[in-house]
């Protein structure tokens, strides 16, 4: 439950996962923790199982064995419905690309989590204000707010996605290669904005990338192969 005296945001014990209809174990993680508010950079080669791990953390997949404790509750013991509720209430996701519903405006995309989770709606205060504040902090010009998300540039879309992950102050942020679609100069800018907002909201951040060079401003940097025994057994 606690790590270095801080409450854990995430705590994995003896996790084993295998994709359906596959022989090889994809993940075998004896132990992995993230403290509340901690910013962790997780890297590893493509196909190493990073996205698979994030799916398990989000509760869209269930491990064969082991426990995944998020904010003190073991989500592997929850029903599918409760896992979905938990994800809506406590986790903000950002993916590599195409994070948004292209036919909603940027602002409406940011507001989506508040329609799925009453908790995040309450924590956002005045949801519209919270959304515009986040978009401003993330440097999205106001004239882009009301455009359909599909018309924004990739860089703008990723910032809208970050605002959406942050709205309603979820305790855990999960970012799966969110900068891979951006050109090099913009990658660091995006990461810095994200880190600053995560800090301001007090959220733990698990940032996943195959590109180790981006790890500079994180509290901790981990290679998946260091925590995942399954990867090392492979010939």
């Amino acid at each position: 439950m606690f790590l270095d005296g801080r409450m854990t945001a995430l705590s994995i014990v003896n996790l084993v996962y295998r994709w359906p209809r596959q022989q090889a174990v994809c993940l075998d993680i004896p132990r992995f923790d993230i403290a509340a508010g901690e910013h962790v950079f997780l890297h590893g080669p493509s196909g190493g199982g990073k996205s698979t791990l994030l799916g398990l953390l989000g509760g869209v997949a269930v491990p064969e064995r082991g426990s995944i404790e998020l904010l003190g509750s073991d989500i592997t013991r929850l029903s599918g419905h409760s896992r979905d509720r938990f994800r809506a209430d406590h986790i903000g996701f950002i993916f590599q690309q195409f994070n948004l519903l292209p036919w909603l405006s940027a602002l409406d995309n940011v507001l989506l989590p508040c329609t799925f989770s009453a908790r995040r709606l309450t924590r956002a205060g005045t949801a519209r204000e919270a959304a515009t504040r986040l978009l401003t902090h993330l440097d999205l010009a106001a004239d882009a707010w009301h455009k359909p998300a599909g018309e924004l540039s990739v860089g703008q879309q990723q910032r809208v996605a970050a605002a959406r992950a942050l709205i309603g102050r979820p305790e855990i942020l999960i970012a799966d290669e969110p900068t891979s679609a951006l050109d090099a100069p913009r990658q660091q800018i995006f990461i810095d904005l994200l880190l600053a907002e995560a800090k301001a909201e007090g959220a733990a951040l698990l940032f996943v990338s195959h590109d180790e060079r981006l790890a500079a401003h994180f509290d901790r940097k981990i290679a998946l192969c260091d925590i995942n025994r399954a990867g090392t057994i492979e010939p």
């Binding site: 799916g55 989000g58 599918g80 994800r87 993916f95 994070n99 519903l101 036919w103 799966d176």
Partner: protein, 419 residues
């Protein structure tokens, strides 16, 4: 749940062009199906209720169906008239209880004018041996008096005491008989038969308005004022058809043979029940085929919906993963797609019913004029509710399939679809 349904509407709106085309197809298909069903139902109603208590309908020799159509349903017209002497010869046959002559050919604002005798109101029966009743006034007793069917009075807002003029032929803008107006002396109670849409006058009136006419056109330079018509012989020389009631129904075949073999001119007598059955058998086949075909058209429309939605599902795989990340359950994604399909189906059927209403308004008079079918303005009949339920149920099935696919897809994809 509410969030998902709101999104279903918004996402459908975002793809309004493709879905709109599908929606139109469903609207047209269901309008067609409802129209066929309604015409079918009302045709059966019209044909079975139109006449009863008449043993024989007699006219010039032609087809029995054609004779029934013009003599009873005021649809189409006779190719030949029959002579008054022929009518008298058969009317005085010992087996005949009563005979009522009919003259057709004029109209008032699209409604057929029937020249006959006051006996018509006494002997004519419709539906289940029901006699004609007067909602107002009484039968005509003199020339230039008229009795209106209920629909004529209602649609033209006519009352007893009003005056109308007749037109030669069935066209609304045909040559007129404006110089000889008629006074409404009676209005019949509604019957749901072609009687409602007829204007009744006596035989002498028909002769009177044609006194100064020859071969379907006014004689130039000759105009006989209405006051003077009684100085002329108004006994008609020809009639269109006549109805016969027998003293003893057992004589019907004997009299029918007698009339069909009448020496004076080629006549034909038909038994209304038999002729209607014949008419119905011809139509029944067409009717069943039409109904089956329009049901098929609806199925094709809904298959179009299914195809559109399945095609869009691949593009939307990413969207489903996003919704999943936001906390939507696979069940909710199932609901999203199903709700979207049902929305399109329901709107489509609603538009279809709107089309049907508009179509009924425009085509009902045509159906009446050409086929004698009276389309009723009414709320849904029970069989139409059934049809509606069947369409919606088929739409539901068509929508469940993309819903089920989305559910399966979201389970397999998790948060990161692999294309």
């Amino acid at each position: 749940m509410r969030a998902i349904l709101t999104l279903a509407v918004k996402s459908a709106w975002a793809r309004r062009l493709t879905l709109g085309v599908t929606l139109c197809a469903i609207a047209l298909a269901s309008a067609l199906l409802f129209a066929v069903e309604r015409v079918r139902h009302d045709a059966r109603q019209s044909f079975t209720q139109a006449v009863s208590g008449v043993d024989l309908v007699v006219g010039a020799r032609s087809g029995s169906v054609q004779l029934m159509l013009y003599a009873v349903f005021r649809a189409g017209s006779a190719t030949h008239n029959i002579r008054w002497e022929s009518f008298e010869a058969i009317a005085t046959h010992p087996a005949v209880d009563w005979a009522v002559p009919l003259v057709l050919g004029d109209s008032h604002r699209g409604f057929a004018v029937l020249g006959t005798t006051p006996d018509y109101f006494r002997h004519f029966r419709y539906s289940d041996q029901r006699a004609l009743g007067f909602a107002a006034g009484q039968a005509f007793a003199d020339v230039f008096e008229t009795v209106l069917g209920s629909a004529v009075a209602a649609e033209l807002r006519l009352e007893v005491g009003d005056r109308i003029t007749l037109t030669h032929g069935m066209a609304e803008a045909g040559p007129g008989h404006d110089d000889k107006p008629f006074t409404v002396v009676g209005i019949l109670a509604p019957t749901g038969t072609p009687v409602d849409r007829s204007v009744h006058v006596n035989l002498e009136s028909i002769s009177a308005i044609h006194l100064d006419w020859v071969a379907g056109a006014p004689l130039p330079g000759l105009a006989i004022p209405a006051e003077f018509v009684k100085k002329f012989d108004l006994q008609p020389k020809e009639i269109t058809a006549f109805l016969v009631g027998l003293k003893n129904r057992a004589d019907v075949f004997r009299l029918q043979r007698h009339i069909n073999g009448y020496r004076g001119e080629p006549l034909m007598a038909v038994m209304p029940g038999v002729a209607l059955d014949e008419l119905w058998q011809t139509l029944g086949m067409i009717e069943q085929t039409l109904l089956a075909m329009s049901a098929l058209v609806v199925v094709i429309g809904l298959a179009g919906l299914l195809a559109t939605m399945l095609a869009s599902l691949n593009e939307r795989r990413r969207e489903l993963a996003i919704l999943r990340a936001l906390g939507a359950s696979p069940r909710e994604l199932f609901l999203l797609l199903t709700a979207e399909g049902l929305l399109v189906t329901t709107l489509g059927v609603a538009f279809g019913l709107g089309l049907l209403a508009v179509g009924t308004f425009f085509f009902a008079p045509l159906l009446q004029a050409h086929f004698g079918i009276i389309l009723q303005w009414r709320l849904f009949a029970p069989n139409e509710w059934l049809l509606l339920a069947a369409i919606l149920a088929t739409g539901l099935v068509a929508s469940l399939i993309p819903g089920w696919r989305a559910w399966r897809m979201s389970l397999a994809d998790g948060l990161t679809p692999r294309n």
